[in-house]
Each structure stands twice: as C-alpha cells, then as structure tokens.
Symmetry: C2
Subunit: 262 residues, 2 copies
DNA sequence: CTCCTTTAGATATCTAGACAAGTTACTGTG
DNA sequence: CACAGTAACTTGTCTAGATATCTAAAGGAG
C-alpha cells in the first residue's frame, strides 16, 4: 500500500519489445548498481511492485527471479527481498606454499585468516583410504589406493571452501598424514620429512556454477559461481605426491599469481 | 501426446516436502548427468512433462528454469529444450608469456588456436587515448593518461574472451603499440624494444556472474560465469608498464599455473 | 512484566488458462 | 517440381487467482 520512494524505480515502456519482466529487472538492477538501493537495503515488496507497475504478481516474481539469479539480491521468506552485501574476500597469494610459510605450528588457513581479522574454522574432517577416481589416479601416476583427506573451511561461521587431498598410500601410510592433525607445517612438512622434498605445484583453475551438493556445502546464494582448483604437488624426483581438489565460493576469493617473464 | 521413453524420468513423491518443481528439476538434472539424455538431445516438451507429471505448465517451466540457470540445458524458441553441449576448452598455460613464445610473427592467440585446430578471429579492435579508471591508474602508478587497446577474441566464430590493455601514454606513444597491428611478438616485444625489459607479471583471478553487457559481448548462455583476470606487467626497473583486464567465458577456459615450491 | 497467541504482511508454490511468436512439416496450387 | 500457405507444435509472456509458510509486531493471559 505504501507508495514507493519516488524516483527509485521508473515506469514501463509499453512500446518496447523488451518483455515487461525484463524491463522491471533492468530497473531494479540499475537502481542497485547506481546505489539507489544500498547494501542490505530492502526492496519494495512484491505487492508494492505489483501496484507500482500495474502488472500481475507472477510478472514481478519473474523479474525478481532474474536479479536473484544474477546474485544481486537475496529473498528471505516472510521478510522481504534484500540487496546482497558484498562479502569480504580472501586473497590467495601464489607464494602461499612457500617453505617460509610452513614453519608455524598451525595451518596456513588459520594463520592467514586470523591475520585478516576473521575467525577461522575447519570442519567435516574425514580421513580414509580409498580407490582413487580415474582423474586423480592419472594425476598421481596410477596408484591403486590413496589416502583421502577431506575438510571444509569456514570464515566467521561462513563456509568458503572445501577440499580433498589425495596421496598415494605408500607415501602417506605410517606417517602423521593419516592423523587428523598432521602436526606443524601440515602435510607438506611431513612429506618433506619422509624424503619427498617438494619441487613445484601445478594448479588448474576453472570456474563454473555449483552442483546442488556444492550449494549446500558452501551455503551458496543463487548466482554465485565456484572456483575449482586442482593442485598437484611434485617432489624433486618429479613424482606427483599429492593432488588437492578444492572448490571455493567465488565471491569469497581472489587468486593471485606471480609469473616470471623468463 | 507422445509418451515419454519409460525410465528416463521418474515420478513425484507427494510426501516429500521438497517443492514439486524442484523434484522435477532434480530428475531432469539426474537424467542428464547420468547420461539418459546425451549432449544436444532434446528434452520432452513442456506439454509432455505436464502430462507425465500431472502438474501445470508453470510448474514445469519453473523446473526447466532451474536447470537452465544451472547451464545444463538451453531453450530454443519454437524448437524445444536441448542438453547443452560441453564446448571445447582453451587452456592457458602459465608460460604463455615466456619470451620463447614471442618470436612468431602472429599473436599468441592465433598461433595457439590454430595449433588446437580452431579458427581464431579478433574483432572490435579499438585503440585510443583516455583517462584511466581509478583502479587501472593505481595499478599503473598513477598516470593521468593511458593508451587503451580493446579487442575481442573468437574461436570458430564463438566469442570466448574480451580484453583491454592499458599502457602509460609516455611509454606507448610513438611506438607501434598505437597501431592496430603492433608487429611480430605483439606489444610485449615492442615494450622490450623500447627499453622496458619485462621482469614479471602479476595476475589476479576472480570468478563471477557476467553483467548484461558481458552476456551480449560473449554471447553467454544462462548459467555460465566469467573468469575475470587482471594482469599487470612489470619491467626490470619494477615499473608497471601494462595492465590487461580480461573477461573470459568460464566454460571455454582452464587456467594452468606452475608454482615453484621455494 | 513475561510469555503465548493472534494477526498482518511477506515470500513460496501451484493452478488453469490466454495470447504471442518461432519452427517445422505437410498440403495444395501453380 | 517449386513454392506459398497453413496447421501443428514448440517456447515466451502474462493474468488472476488460490493455499502454504515464515516473520514480526500487536495484544491478551498469567
């Protein structure tokens, strides 16, 4: 019933051949990107938009569905539709696996998050032996069994990443790598102690929309893609000693790399 | 009217508290990922799904909207809904700017695409002087004017990437960099000839959903994110000499990096 | 005052139908 | 045979409701 703040949203162009719900979506998107609705602000309710534009509710919902799909707004059942705040971003530097970062007694994730003023958490830690997938097996040089370590990372209670590490069983067994807490410096430190001095990492990066499982595990809002990173660690004998498969909420990460211009 | 091939899609569970359109979407997704619908195959028409599930057409369309948003299928007006084929993927190696790749007379994109058996194309080449954005200016050390080179890359007629290079005007002016074709080895070769031997590149990678403009420029299907890469090139005097802002169709790229374990 | 109930308002889901517009195949005419 | 027209089928858009469920605020009982 309350009228809209004048000027925040315009009117429809009946002459346009652009669908009505798209015109409405355009205006909402425009109002957000131009700052007429600020972060966290509540959009007019569906009923108000119905009144303002003189269309049916389904048309308004269709328009809201578009801007929801773009990740601009989030609907909360019973409360309203709100402009999505931009979450804080975690920056992954390309030297994050350098040996000098491996000395501390805690994991890289923990140290880095606390330095950035966030509260880090690791959960769903699962460690087991298993038969590797074809892809993992290929990357690791074809072992028949691997040790898999799966875990999920959270910042301030929000899940941002989950990862699975796979190591050839003959390397990992009878080392602390099979323990939930592998000790200071993490599994890379243990690998080096076991004689596998690390030489280089290969990383492959893809971006795509999440699967339903990933949406649940990362509590992703609609319209947020994931970054899929597959890292292979090689020792100085050029043997692959670990494959780490990581899925990150794309709105929480920036990856940074330094390349020599050799 | 035609009945569905038996077994491709199941039935609804009225006892489930999962919304009907989500159950239908789940079944379609499942049928695709399990290969019961292959790439390019036509899904049952909306009318057939209405009949099969005994629901209204809007509910079926809602379900189809879900799997469309996930990028699994593409609707073609008047024809039907089809399983999206996986496009060929272009792999960007981390040594793609190594000097040894800079000798050829043609651009890296052209050479690499032809080697992979694709037909490369570059269009919308625009070269002009302009005032840099705040972000570009910061990355370049604060020049007041820059040379901007914008272009779009296509493979087999499909746009896959567009990019803008920014160079401080005092470096770029009176070099072939201001020409549409900067000559063999590209602008990096010209920079080195002008005394700016390249030392390293910094790259920042983000993934997000595309803006409407990006959807048009890359002809993106719904549910396809973009990879946003910002590269800064530094010369041996540690001066930033180029910023390249690249937006790529995420379904067409894999980025590969090699990191030393130093 | 505290706690529970009610109520109003918000989004979520679903129905049944209408017309528009693109695609394909058939049909009949020249 | 060539071709224009047409019919059937497809997705796209929109309407006008209905019921369900969640949230928050108001009001009443103790």
């Amino acid at each position: 019933m309350a009228t809209l703040p004048s000027g925040t949203l315009g009117t429809l162009d009946p002459a346009s051949d652009r669908a009505v719900f798209r015109q409405i979506a355009d205006q909402i998107r425009d109002a957000i990107t131009k700052g007429r609705f600020t972060e966290g602000a509540k959009l007019p309710s569906e009923a108000e938009l119905v009144e303002h534009y003189g269309v049916s509710r389904m048309t308004v919902r269709n328009a809201l569905g578009v801007v929801q799909g773009e990740g601009l707004v989030r609907a909360e059942h019973g409360k309203g539709v709100f402009v999505r705040p931009r979450p804080p971003v975690r920056r992954l530097a390309s030297d994050r696996f350098a040996r000098r970062h491996r000395e501390a007694g805690r994991s890289a994730f923990t140290v880095e998050a606390e330095a950035a003023g966030s509260r880090p958490e690791v959960d769903s830690l699962e460690i087991r032996e298993e038969r590797p997938s074809a892809d993992v097996s290929t990357r690791l040089g074809g072992p028949r069994r691997v040790l898999a370590r799966r875990r999920r990372y959270l910042l301030d209670g929000r899940p941002v990443e989950f990862a699975a590490s796979y190591l050839p069983l003959d390397i990992a067994q009878s080392t602390p790598i099979t323990e939930p807490n592998p000790g200071p410096g993490g599994i890379y430190a243990r690998l080096e102690e076991a004689g596998h001095t690390l030489d280089r990492f290969d990383e492959e990066i893809r971006a795509r929309m999440p699967s339903p499982h990933e949406i649940r595990a990362l509590e992703l809002a609609p319209g947020v893609p994931v970054i899929h990173l597959i890292r292979t660690a090689f020792d100085t004998a050029a043997r692959p000693v670990e494959v780490c498969d990581t899925v990150m909420a794309a709105d929480a990460y920036v990856l940074a790399y330094q390349l020599p211009a050799t």
